[in-house]
């Protein structure tokens, strides 16, 4: 077992990325994720890696496209407004089927918004963000330990499916420190026969491109990509259930909202209310099966979010609206308190009796 160390969530992401073989980082600073870039700037030159502060987010994501095309592990990180700038690149990466890690440590929006924590980029992350039909694998850590472990997972999934993985965190997760145990990072070399890494005069050229002017062919590419997505949905969905066995009320929350909600669920149990929680760890694919199963024995759902109600749509879709879903939220950089979530649980518990 490795020693437990104290790290900020942002630093844990950076160190975990290095340990699983990422040697290329391109970014542009923005609060509240700048520690990722700072950590990379310090470490990459010492281990033969590349840290490059680009002239803009747009430049950074296009550098990621270049490195990913060459078959190396590469990442970028930003916060909400910066991810909007990168979204064109994310669409191109989907069109090129390129694996990479993109980290979004969210802050309040829209526009420049504020710098305090938020989850208001849920739609942008889970629906693609850029144009065209595509998905990214979206992982939502709820502890500094998961900031590290899901970073490693994100790289593995990206390489396995030739997709972009996104870590969707928030300012709290990025800034807080908790004990973290970093794995020694066994890097399994992954064959990338599709990469533009030099033919050695021994094979045909690999062409990495998202332009496809023949509709019949572009249609085929889209269908094939969605077959791949189907496999991701079947094999890679991750979630945690907390006190769900006999739950009457199912709280659904991810990231910092899940941490807050856990306190509220515990307090509700102490007050004699059978509350439980489903915490999606992958936001795409969304854990639809456990939510649907919960609809069979729960009277209602409460979606706790740091936005105006985005994930609640996935809760309703997954449960096929079999039970009412209520929103408990704060926005703009504010975070719901355990007391607010408990109040909502009590209110709904009273209402349905």
């Amino acid at each position: 077992m490795a020693e437990k160390v104290l790290m900020k969530g942002n630093e844990a992401i950076a160190e975990a990325a290095i340990r699983c073989g990422c040697r290329h980082y391109f970014g542009y600073p923005i609060t509240p994720q700048t520690e990722i870039a700072a950590y990379m700037a310090k470490r990459m030159p010492k281990i033969g890696g590349t840290f490059l502060q680009a002239e803009s987010e747009v430049a950074a994501i296009n550098m990621v496209i270049g490195a990913a095309s060459a078959g190396v592990r590469v990442m970028t990180s930003s916060s909400s407004p910066g991810i909007s700038l990168k979204s064109e690149g994310l669409s191109y990466m989907a069109g090129c089927d390129l694996p990479a890690l993109v980290v979004n440590v969210q802050r309040g929006g829209p526009g420049l918004g504020g710098i305090q924590p938020s989850q208001s980029d849920y739609f942008q992350a889970t629906r693609g963000g850029g144009h065209g039909d595509y998905h990214m694998i979206v992982l939502a850590p709820a502890s500094v330990q998961e900031m590290a472990s899901l970073t490693a997972k994100a790289f593995d999934l990206a390489d396995k499916y030739r997709m972009t993985s996104m870590i969707l965190a928030d300012g709290t997760m990025g800034q807080m420190m908790e004990p973290v145990e970093l794995s020694e990072g066994e890097v399994k070399p992954i064959e990338k026969p599709w990469a533009a890494s030099g033919t050695q005069m021994a094979r045909e050229h690999n062409i990495i491109n998202s332009l496809s002017l023949v509709p019949e062919e572009l249609e085929k590419l889209n269908f094939a990509r969605y077959e791949k997505y189907k496999a991701v949905v079947e094999n890679e969905t991750m979630y945690e259930e907390y006190m769900m066995d006999d739950a009457d009320i199912c709280v659904v929350a991810f990231g910092i909202a899940a941490r807050v909600s856990k306190n509220a669920v515990l307090a509700a149990r102490e007050a004699g209310i059978r509350a439980g929680m489903i915490r999606p760890i992958t936001l795409w694919p969304f854990p639809a099966a456990p939510v649907k199963a919960a609809a069979a024995h729960c009277k209602s759902f409460i979606s706790v979010e740091l936005n105006m109600g985005q994930m609640i749509e996935d809760v309703r879709l997954a449960s096929e609206c079999a039970r009412p879903a209520y929103l408990c939220n704060r926005v703009g950089g504010m975070i719901p308190s355990p007391e607010q979530v408990l109040e909502k649980i009590k209110e709904i518990n009273g209402g349905v009796q």
């Binding site: 509240p32 420190m177 908790e178 910092i256």
Partner: protein, 179 residues
């Protein structure tokens, strides 16, 4: 099962985050669960800064402290802001050099420590934070006194190890302060 919710608040530059980090590392050394959450952003440069440290024997849910059981107030705005939020029966530590008023509540234990003056007199001008932490360790039981040096070694960065002695002295001054 014991959980300590410690809120440290003051001006940027008073070492609020550092004091919290020290307590977090002490918790780590003692094998406890912990979280450390800073305020971040422009207020860190001269405005108010605060940090939430939770030390617990069980997994920690929310890292955000709305109702501290231990409040360290290093300036007046912080005391004004958090006095009412402190749980009944909790403890409030006041830097009485910088805060002229008394705590109005009667249902909490209050400790007045002229930490900024003490630090200045001892030539440890930036270590009022650690003087108060020393007193907190003595009075609150959030962590043990034994092993403070191990925790200090972890929190004082490698190139500042020469400041270990000063930090240790500040902690001892607070620990031995009667008042």
């Amino acid at each position: 099962m014991k959980t300590n919710r410690i809120l440290i608040a003051g001006f940027g530059g008073q070492g609020v985050l550092f004091a919290g980090k020290f307590l977090a590392y002490k918790g780590l050394c003692e094998g406890r669960q912990l979280s450390w959450l800073p305020s971040y952003g422009p207020e860190m440069r001269g405005g108010t800064a605060n940090c939430s440290v939770i030390l617990s024997d069980e997994p920690i849910g929310s890292p955000i402290i709305t109702t501290p059981d231990t409040l360290i107030a290093m300036n007046l705005p912080s005391l004004d802001k958090y006095e009412a939020a402190t749980v009944p029966g909790g403890q409030i530590y006041v830097d009485s050099t910088l805060i002229g008023r008394k705590v109005a509540r009667g249902d909490v234990s209050v400790f007045y420590i002229p930490a900024t003056q003490m630090a200045s007199d001892a030539g440890l001008t930036t270590l009022a934070n650690m003087i108060i932490v020393g007193k907190v360790i003595r009075e609150s039981g959030v962590c043990a006194w034994e092993g403070i040096e191990d925790a200090l070694k972890k929190v004082v960065s490698a190139r500042h190890q020469d400041l270990l002695g000063a930090n240790l002295k500040a902690l001892e001054m607070g620990y031995n302060f009667e008042g």
